[in-house]
């Protein structure tokens, strides 16, 4: 069963990664990072339920609750940043921000 859960988690992570790299809209990219996050959370719960040594614990579930709290805080911060970036350039296109480019 563990493999099925891990496959779901890996699929979520891969979808989020592809979305993050290919899409240009800042909000979509932000949602994609959340998707990758949830893929990892699925992994944590799966390993908690089916640990490799055979003794299930609640550690994975507790840890995932912590991660949800972190994700909520990060979402508040991230969306605020997106709003600020939008105010500067009037667009949500990520490719207009290239300040790290070597001149």
């Amino acid at each position: 069963m563990l493999v099925a859960y891990l496959l779901v988690g890996a699929a979520l992570f891969a979808l989020g990664l592809i979305g993050f790299v290919t899409r240009r809209n800042l909000i979509i990219m932000f949602l994609c990072t959340e998707l990758m996050f949830q893929g990892i959370v699925v992994n944590l719960v799966a390993f908690g339920r089916y640990p490799l040594d055979g003794n299930p614990t609640l550690d994975g579930q507790v840890f995932s609750l912590f991660l949800l709290a972190v994700a909520a805080a990060e979402a508040a911060l991230g969306l605020a940043l997106v709003v600020l970036l939008y105010r500067y350039k009037g667009t949500l296109d990520a490719s207009v921000w290239k300040l790290l480019k070597d001149v």
């Binding site: 790299v21 480019k101 070597d102």
Partner: protein
């Protein structure tokens, strides 16, 4: 060293030893004023006060010094040339301030040897310091009024000027006071630095910047020889010294110099002479001095006429025991002196720039002093240094006064007939010119006449050449004077509508210098009642000045041998020169009569014998070519090699910088690819490795 110092000094020696530091203190204060951006209007106060304190101390020291010196059993004996080699009595005393550089450790045989900061006091010190500080003070006071524009506002760099001048007076006093060769060299280089800074005072003018560099570089050539001379002295003298004797102190060097072989002494003397040739602008290193006139007039008066350029004469006179022991070196000095005197005097006859005429005249007069040194009568040379300081400073400052009122025009073809516009300057200039020309009874006459006497005793041909040069001196001096003040009034348009006499702050110090130009000679003559053995019935050459110099390291006899008739001859020659100038230039003709009369010779003189061009071809251009070659080697050869070596990292960097494109998603993709590669590599190692 035995310090047989008498207790009769008026002020403590430690107080006299502070003399050089007052102008330095003033310069530092002025520097602080510059840093705080205070008003330039009052910037002269610290330096003028500092130099004023020095001048007071210097004059008191001059009168106080004879009582402070150790009394020799045979004081006043002339002609101690022969005795110097065997038995040397230190005529002065060394005042040590602190030990500076240690020359030996505890374990060596000769411990307790130092290069000290010490001052040497003898008759020569007293004379030099007195006139250096007094002339400096007069020039400083003059500069308060001179360094201003025609509205009376201080010109740009007013504070900087006074700060540099303060440092100069400090350096010159250190040079004169120095008690060992290293400290002498220090003062020597410091005055050179001040000269460089002040020639280039108007540094925005390309010609001034070039002249400053020229002065500095030509002096380097001479100073190279001077430094080698000091090294040689150390090498030769140190093995002879004992513990507690500093091998470069004057007293020690002169004590042991007689034990060296003739060849070594001549080598040292010739190397030291190199330094003197550069500093005192003698042939063949004189070329920097005419160009140095790009600096402000007070600088020309103080540094390039009265004080710094006489440092070479001072050094040779100070090293009397060395030079007296080498007739070869003395002969070289005479030959170079005669060449310099004749060259410079002829060049001065065909110039129009007043300050340059005076510069060539300075070279010529310094050459006179060299001849005196070479003829074994250094006291006469020092006497001429002393009188020359007054009348030449006076002449340069008068030229400065004219220049200021003529809107910085100094070309004699542009103006004439200034006698009514500048009455004070005219009167003062006349005194200076008469003194320089050697008109009887003025300062310049007495000292120049002694040198002519000495040169006649040395060799009649040298004497004759000196007399001819004296005639030329009178002629070119009064050619300049008549072209400036006589004839119809002509003014350059730069002078404005109403040129007037310079302010009192400039004229007053000139009267002091003029007084010196008249009476300074009388410290070197004796009044006598013996009609038959005197000049004009009551004056005899040699006086207080020469007795004063007996208690000094100036070694040499005094020459009376030429006979008093020579004084009448040289008077007649001076007056004839002035008369000839009156006949030819008395009404300041616009067309130069000499130019037409002398033709090619005049053009040769006007072009300064093409010596500048010759030096340019012989030295400057080859050296510049060499420099270009080295530059090209460095630029193409060595830099090219480095370019090849660095090509690899540069290419790698060029490739990698493409990756840094600034796009967020690009970096994300890079991370994903990197992570994938690492994970795959890890798996591959896990399967194939362990």
């Amino acid at each position: 060293m035995l310090l047989a110092q008498a207790s009769t000094s008026l002020l403590p020696v430690d107080l006299y030893a502070t003399l050089p530091f007052w102008p330095l203190l003033g310069a530092i204060f002025t520097g602080i004023m510059i840093a705080l951006r205070l008003k330039a209007e009052r910037a002269f106060w610290p330096v003028v006060l500092g130099v004023g304190v020095s001048a007071v101390l210097g004059v008191i020291l001059f009168f106080d010094l004879p009582g402070m010196l150790p009394h020799k059993a045979d004081a006043g004996v002339t002609g101690h040339v022969a005795e110097a080699a065997h038995e040397y009595h230190d005529p002065g005393f060394t005042h040590t301030i602190y030990n500076w550089i240690s020359l030996g450790d505890e374990n060596s045989l000769k411990h307790d040897q130092w290069i000290s900061v010490n001052f040497y006091f003898d008759g020569l010190t007293g004379i030099m310091i007195a006139f250096v500080t007094v002339v400096s003070l007069m020039v400083m006071i003059y500069s308060i009024g001179y360094m201003r524009d025609h509205h009376g506002h201080p010109e740009r760099g007013y504070e900087r000027f006074f700060a540099f001048m303060g440092i100069f007076v400090f350096s010159m006093a250190m040079l004169v006071f120095a008690g060992n060769f290293v400290l002498l060299y220090l003062g020597w280089e410091l005055v050179g630095l001040c000269s460089y800074l002040l020639i280039g005072f108007y540094y925005k003018k390309p010609s001034a910047a070039a002249a400053a560099k020229k002065a500095f570089i030509v002096n380097r050539i001479g100073d190279f020889g001077f430094a080698l001379g000091i090294f040689a002295l150390y090498m030769f003298i140190r093995p002879l010294t004992h513990s507690g004797e500093n091998p470069l102190d004057y007293a020690v060097v002169f004590h042991y110099i007689g034990e060296l072989s003739q060849g070594k002494i001549t080598l040292v003397a010739l190397l030291l002479l190199c330094g003197a040739l550069g500093k005192s602008a003698q042939f063949p290193l004189y070329v920097w001095l005419p160009d140095a006139m790009e600096g402000p007039s007070p600088v020309s008066a103080l540094i390039h006429a009265a004080t710094m350029v006489t440092a070479g004469i001072y050094m040779i006179a100070r090293c009397g025991p060395i030079f007296a022991a080498s007739q070869t070196a003395l002969n070289v000095i005479v030959v170079l002196g005669v060449i310099g005197a004749m060259l410079a005097a002829t060049m001065a006859m065909a110039q129009y720039d007043m300050k340059r005429i005076l510069a060539y005249s300075t070279i010529s007069q310094l050459a006179y002093m060299f001849v005196a040194l070479g003829c074994s009568t250094p006291a006469s040379g020092v006497f001429h240094v002393f009188t020359h300081a007054f009348f030449k400073a006076l002449l340069f400052l008068c030229a400065g006064s004219i220049m200021l009122q003529m809107g910085h025009i100094i070309d004699l073809r542009r103006f004439s007939g200034l006698r009514n516009i500048l009455p004070h300057t005219k009167r003062l200039m006349l005194i200076g010119c008469l003194s320089l020309a050697g008109f009887p009874l003025l300062a310049g006459f007495w000292s120049k006449d002694e040198i002519v006497h000495a040169s006649f005793v040395y060799h009649p041909i040298v004497g004759a050449l000196m007399l001819i040069t004296a005639g030329m001196t009178a002629y070119y001096t009064f050619r300049m004077y008549f072209l400036c003040f006589h004839g119809p009034l002509r003014l350059p348009k730069e002078a404005g509508d109403h040129p007037r006499e310079s302010p009192p702050v400039m004229i007053a110090p000139l009267y002091v210098l003029a007084l010196g130009a008249i009476v300074a000679g009388y410290v070197g003559v004796t009044f006598t009642m013996l009609m038959g053995d005197s000049f004009l019935g009551f004056l005899k050459p040699h006086g207080y000045f020469h007795h004063y110099l007996h208690a000094s390291t100036v070694v040499g006899g005094e020459q009376h041998g030429g006979g008093l008739w020579l004084m009448y001859v040289s008077s007649a020659i001076a007056i004839a020169g002035i008369w000839l100038a009156w006949v030819r230039y008395g009404d300041a003709p616009v067309e130069d009569p000499d130019k037409a009369a002398l033709g090619g010779l005049w053009r040769l003189w006007n072009a300064k014998y093409y010596l500048d061009e010759l030096y340019d071809r012989l030295f400057v251009r080859p050296l510049r070519g060499l420099g270009r070659f080295f530059f090209a080697t460095d630029n193409n050869g060595i830099d090219g090699l480095i370019w090849v070596v660095t090509a690899v990292p540069r290419a790698m960097g060029g490739g990698l910088r493409l990756l840094q494109n600034g796009a967020l998603q690009g970096y994300a993709l890079g991370m994903v690819i990197g992570l994938t590669v690492i994970v795959l590599l890890w798996r591959w190692l896990e399967i194939n490795g362990a």
